[in-house]
């Protein structure tokens, strides 16, 4: 996977890797670049996946993923 760096990157937890990739594809279909990242393990649950995208797009990202019924965890 190509590494991407965003200026002012925001992260949203998704959970499973497949869902995170689905989120990335959904955003790409709408012209938004994002990156799947593995999140630091939490003390209670362990590792999970998130997507990283430009903060400037945050509202748009949330709207797209909500419509696609992809749950963001925070």
């Amino acid at each position: 996977m190509r590494e991407m760096q965003f200026m002012g990157a925001c992260q949203s937890g998704i959970g499973g890797l497949t869902q995170a990739m689905q989120a990335q594809k959904t955003l790409a279909d709408k012209g938004i670049s994002s990156q799947v990242v593995r999140r630091e393990p939490t003390e209670s649950r362990g590792c999970a996946y998130a997507i990283q995208y430009p903060c400037a797009q945050e509202a748009h990202v949330r709207e797209i993923l909500h419509k696609a019924r992809i749950r963001m965890r925070e």
Binding site: M1, G15, G16, L17, T18, Q19, M21, Q22, K25, V36, V37, R38, P41, T42, E43, S44, R45, G46, C47, A48, Y49
Partner: protein, 383 residues
């Protein structure tokens, strides 16, 4: 003279595989085969990306809008076991068709032996050339009980070319709140399947048959909003500190490392079917079997079962010769066919094949009419 191999056992597994499938399996193993979902390093993510692309292709190919509901497993048997044992609860009643493979019959019988469920077999009338969807649905409706929770059927039989009307059966199941489970072991890659319009709740698919992928690339697709119990538990790379499997599909069902090379090959197989065209593949295979049927019908003492159903499978016997003996004799001349009962005792009983079963011929897109002619000539000459 060197014996030429003529492979006519594609209902067991497709052979040869397209060059692109073989090349991608090798490329995966050479270039990017990390462990998907276990790390964020480049090779793990490359494997995961390839697997995700395959999920998207599988979902699209079978009319599902949910790639995350595509769950990879070893084969159709594993898929069916997961669905059957995951969904069924004590006291449930199940309906299965009279053509089911042991991959359905045996897990069902096990649950019956444990006193958990009961089941009935519904007739599909494959021997009757005038059977229709309405007749099958009427037979099903008569067997539905208050506690009927699941109906399982093979879309296409593995011993003849009889095909069940999924759309009508699916509609009936949906109207009665019954889970509709389809075994697509023989039809995937040969016949169109659209889960959402056919109301299929769980589709169980082999990667290595009609989809032209490697062995080990089976999967099932769950309908929207469905969640079942797990058949196996273990590492998924997700929420490792938790003691139970995660809720998220597909990771919930995919304990242990996935066979990335096989799945990468499966993606190529699906793409090659899309490139050639499923209708074109199916027409060629049906044409080969129809051609062979005409040749065999000219030979005295040949009995063809379900001769009115023209498809990718042809089942026959030669009078006075056990099927295994004929199969072994054909093998000596390079013809690979499968004889016996084909793990389908129920289906053989429905078709009234004799003791010892029958010989099954299942050609592929890569066979030729000349090979079918040679096969018929050899059947005739074997005494």
């Amino acid at each position: 003279m060197m014996k030429q191999t003529v492979y006519l056992d594609n209902a067991a597994t497709s052979f040869p595989k397209p060059r692109c499938v073989i090349d991608e399996v090798a490329r995966c193993m050479r270039s990017y085969c990390g462990n998907p979902g276990r790390s964020s390093h480049a090779l793990a993510m490359a494997s995961a990306q390839k697997i995700f692309e395959c999920r998207v292709a599988c979902a699209s190919f079978f009319g599902s809008s949910h790639p995350e509901n595509v769950v990879f497993c070893q084969n159709t048997t594993m898929a069916l076991n997961t669905i059957i044992k995951g969904f069924l609860r004590d006291g449930d009643h199940v309906l299965i068709s009279d053509m089911e493979h042991n991959a359905v019959l045996r897990p069902i019988e096990k649950l019956v032996a444990e006193g958990k469920i009961s089941y009935d077999v519904f007739p599909t009338f494959p021997i009757d050339p005038h059977t229709c969807a309405a007749r099958i649905c009427t037979a099903i409706a008569h067997l539905i009980r208050e506690n009927t929770r699941m109906l399982i059927c093979a879309h296409m039989s593995n011993i003849c070319s009889s095909v069940l009307p999924l759309e009508q059966i699916g509609r009936l199941c949906r109207s009665k709140g019954i889970l509709f489970v389809v075994d697509a072991a023989q039809s995937a890659g040969h016949l169109p399947i659209h889960m959402e319009s056919m109301h299929v709740d769980a589709l169980c698919v082999p990667g290595h048959k009609g989809l032209l992928g490697p062995q080990g690339s089976g999967f099932f697709i769950l309908g929207e909003g469905l969640r079942t119990d797990t058949l196996i538990e273990g590492g998924s790379g997700l929420y490792s500190l938790e003691r139970t499997m995660p809720d998220e599909s597909p990771e919930r069902y995919e304990a242990g490392t996935l066979p990335t090379p096989a799945i990468a090959g499966l993606l190529e197989g699906i793409q090659s079917i899309e490139k050639i065209g499923m209708q074109r593949i199916s027409s060629k295979v049906v044409g080969l079997n129809s051609h062979l049927q005409k040749q065999l019908e000219r030979i005295s003492g040949i009995e063809i079962y379900v001769p009115h159903a023209h498809g990718s499978v042809l089942l026959f016997n030669k009078c006075g010769m056990p099927s295994e003996q004929l199969g072994a004799a054909l093998n000596k001349y390079g013809f690979c066919v499968r004889a016996g009962y084909h793990c389908t005792a129920l289906g053989h009983s429905t078709l009234h094949t004799p003791k010892g079963g029958a010989v099954r011929v299942s050609p592929s897109f890569y066979n030729t009419p000349a090979q079918m002619d040679a096969f018929a000539e050899r059947v005739e000459s074997i005494r």
